[in-house]
Subunit: 498 residues, 2 copies
């Protein structure tokens, strides 16, 4: 049964067909982490593979890396994440809004405020904290609590906290707390909240080992972790997620040109796979959305069921990151172009800190967008007028988890053997092909429609007689008979993206 809520239908399909399961589901599930099932892992691999191909194999100016998730904590000090990810949070007891204390408008303690509680308007006064709830003006607020956007852990097998408590317990509370904070901070490492920083930190190693010349990029696909305050929309915003990020290093002054180049490139990439390109759009960041170091930025957005929302951010980050890391680490992170003139001295040879354009895509968000884009309901009625709609995932063949499914019509008369052989021949071509003999042919077609298999091949009685099999097209349901000895060639042409 279809719900009127497209997200419910999608979540249900993902679970029922093995695209996405909740993490640790049998234990009640882990908040905001997901496991990709047998079909989901293929779609995710295909998306990541297409991105990597477009960034690395089809170009000569981008270098891949794969950095560790645990990085030196000084990386996050220099980048600003440690400060920005540890803000004081306050909960409003009335409207349940959670907000950053340091961002709430300051009000003189004692200032009168009016707010709603249990349907009634209440009058009160701002407390000593110096702010009311920015959402409902209530003065009934929790204490400020440290918000930790980054997941923190400890490197080394010995727990330093226990020893610290033993050594300092009994001291005045403030002094004790300071000792605890000191030891926790001294031993803390963080799960990266983005993959980008590794590209800055390893900038010089990449230049030295590849003889890369500006403009060039460094790209990475990998997991990132954020302790989100709000997790929502299924895999759209989760604590563990996957990114595809590229830092493109260019000459100062050329960043505007490259920003617009990369917005075009990335939109072209999404549109290549989209059935409904009109649901993908570019939106320029307003002045308030720009990070303080960024001089311009765009979002590529998809029209999700809850409205347009971010798929990928493409930011002009100036020379902020390289400059910060050079300063903090004492390492030179710059580029020397012997062919250019130094604009300050007018002498030949120019050493500069490159500017950076960053197309940062969410792989798991892209997964959701492509599933929603592909989800197609073809309305129809049977002879009696009852609903007989066909649901299929119109996934681009490059993205489809299974390329070809092969069925024997019945499980005897040599049909399974022929079908197995066809599946094997397809697998030899590197395709994910599956043999399937479970349930009626109609149900098998319906299942493979719903998981986006572009072609189903059916072996029947006639196959045994005339050595032809039926090939059914997922998009049109059209069926044609193809001689067995031309089958893989025929499928190869129809799957010609490969």
């Amino acid at each position: 049964m279809l719900s009127s809520d497209p997200m419910l239908n999608m979540v249900s399909l993902c679970k029922r067909r093995g695209f996405v399961f909740q993490s640790s589901e049998i234990y009640g599930g882990l908040k905001s982490a997901y496991d990709y099932g047998p079909l989901g892992v293929e779609l995710k691999r295909n998306l990541a593979g297409q991105w990597w191909k477009s960034m690395i194999y089809e170009r000569d100016d981008i270098y891949g890396i794969d950095a560790s998730i645990l990085m030196h904590p000084d990386v996050w000090r220099a980048s600003g994440h440690l400060q920005n990810f540890t803000d004081p949070l306050v909960d409003c007891f009335d409207c349940k809004h959670r907000f950053r204390a340091d961002k709430a408008p300051k009000q003189e303690p004692g200032t009168e405020v009016e707010f709603r509680r249990d349907g009634k308007t209440i009058k009160g006064k701002v407390g000593t904290c110096g702010y009311a709830c920015p959402n409902c003006s209530s003065n009934s607020l929790s204490e400020e609590r440290a918000f930790r956007g980054m997941f923190q852990t400890t490197l080394g097998p010995i727990d330093p906290l226990g020893e610290c408590i033993s050594a300092h317990y009994g001291k005045p509370k403030e002094e004790f707390l300071q000792e605890v904070r000191k030891v926790v901070e001294a031993n803390a490492v963080y799960l990266r909240p983005e993959t980008a920083q590794a590209m800055f930190v390893q900038f010089q190693n990449v230049v030295n080992t590849t003889s890369a010349k500006v403009p060039f990029g460094i790209a990475q696909i990998g997991k990132s972790f954020r302790n989100e305050i709000v997790v929502e929309h299924f895999i759209f915003r989760s604590c563990e997620f996957e990114q595809m990020e590229m830092e493109f290093f260019c000459e100062p002054g050329s960043q505007k040109e490259w920003l617009s180049y990369w917005v075009d490139q990335r939109m072209g990439w999404y549109r290549k796979f989209a059935n409904h390109p009109e649901n993908f759009r570019v939106r320029e960041h307003g002045p308030k959305e720009l990070a303080h170091y960024s001089d311009r930025g765009f979002d590529i957005e998809y029209k999700f069921p809850w409205g347009f929302d971010e798929l990928e951010g493409i930011a002009s980050r100036t020379d902020f990151d390289l400059t910060q890391h050079a300063k903090a680490s004492g390492t030179k992170l710059s580029y020397f172009d012997p062919k250019k003139e130094d604009p300050e001295t007018g002498k030949p040879g120019w050493r500069y800190t490159p500017y950076v354009i960053e197309p940062a895509a969410g792989l798991t968000r892209c997964f959701l967008a492509m599933m929603l884009d592909a989800y197609t309901v073809e309305e129809g009625k049977d002879a009696s007028g009852a609903d007989k709609s066909r649901i299929f995932l119109k996934l681009h063949p490059a993205l489809a988890p299974i390329k070809v499914a092969v069925f024997p019509l019945i499980k005897k008369d040599g049909q399974p053997e022929i079908a197995e052989k066809i599946a094997k021949d397809c697998r030899a071509l590197g395709w994910n092909a599956r043999y399937d003999d479970v349930a009626s042919i109609g149900k098998r077609y319906a299942k493979h429609d719903e998981i986006g298999t572009p072609f189903c091949v059916t072996v029947d009685n006639q196959t045994v007689e005339d050595q032809t099999a039926t090939v059914r097209d997922r998009n049109t349901t059209e069926q044609i008979r193809v001689p067995l000895d031309q089958l893989t060639q025929y499928l190869k042409e129809r799957l010609s993206w490969a």
Copy 2:
């Protein structure tokens, strides 16, 4: 300059050529985490891709998944990891040996012991702890400290520890410690120390969504994290590492047969890529190496410079994991075979908990083994008798990071344009091909020998005249001229693994 230590040469090559960098190197590096550079990421991807192909695409009985790194903590309680990974550790102040207190031989307090300190033999007595150092018999030992093999972190943006300290400070120390332990444990989640558990936890979801029939497997590639007491041998033993694991579910009683099947399969996989298959061996686990639930096991080992050491463990895990998770979660994790007779009742239809064979390979260890296996020094002398050895990485073409490198002999006379076009044609075939015009031809050959590029194509004056280019074979240094219009076809045949 080559060192006499093969590991030093390997670490140097990895860093110099962009295979492996230390994580966060510009900040002094993070202990035991590594970043894979532009060439390393390709070798790692190729290894992982070959494993996935052999497990998923070339077979019809194994299903892939990609589960989250953060899992519900109950998973680790049920699996036994939480208990086994939190043992009490003791340091010996004399010989610096670190050992598990609960595994040290018990001795009556007061028992006389003899040990060496500063070159002298010392006599002493066993203390109240009831053990001496199992390595040197010293009684000069640290207190027992909790050892945490799993990385622990907290899900949720609020730090629970600060609040707990505020609420309970001032209580008796033991009571306070208990409160701290309680709150830390209640909020703890762990980075998975192995990928395997997700295959057990999602067993039922995979069966339900794929109609998988026993025997079948579930496979996964992904990162795991262990707070190792000793990190060593470069990427061999590190805290953040990558695994390729498969759980093969089979009928009780058939496990011995499947164990030997998988040992053969996996050895075949390594040997397919090896230049020195004699350096790969199978070793059966001794009775003391077997986990208490395992009924048999093997290691596939490689002859590393420090001796034979583990690449992959292949264990028969009985029904331990599924049984534990079924018990702990209250979920049925079993399989019903309608075609079999229940051996207890003799009635048709048998519901049982499958037995499991687990081939668990280390992707990052495999990376190191394949690099060492490929590292070749071809000794030679020049006319004057000076050393002119050639170093090359004899990597299997399927594993080589760059398949084809294309050089213009000189950077003019139209040579760069022809070379660029050849590189582009190669890339269009899906190969990682690179154009390279840096340094002399000799140096470019030497570089691509050292990074394992199977073929170099050089465009020279003659190319412009007769439309042929030189193809140089990495293994033999043989050069032949191939017409440009037959070039990609020629390379395709030589790289015929693809």
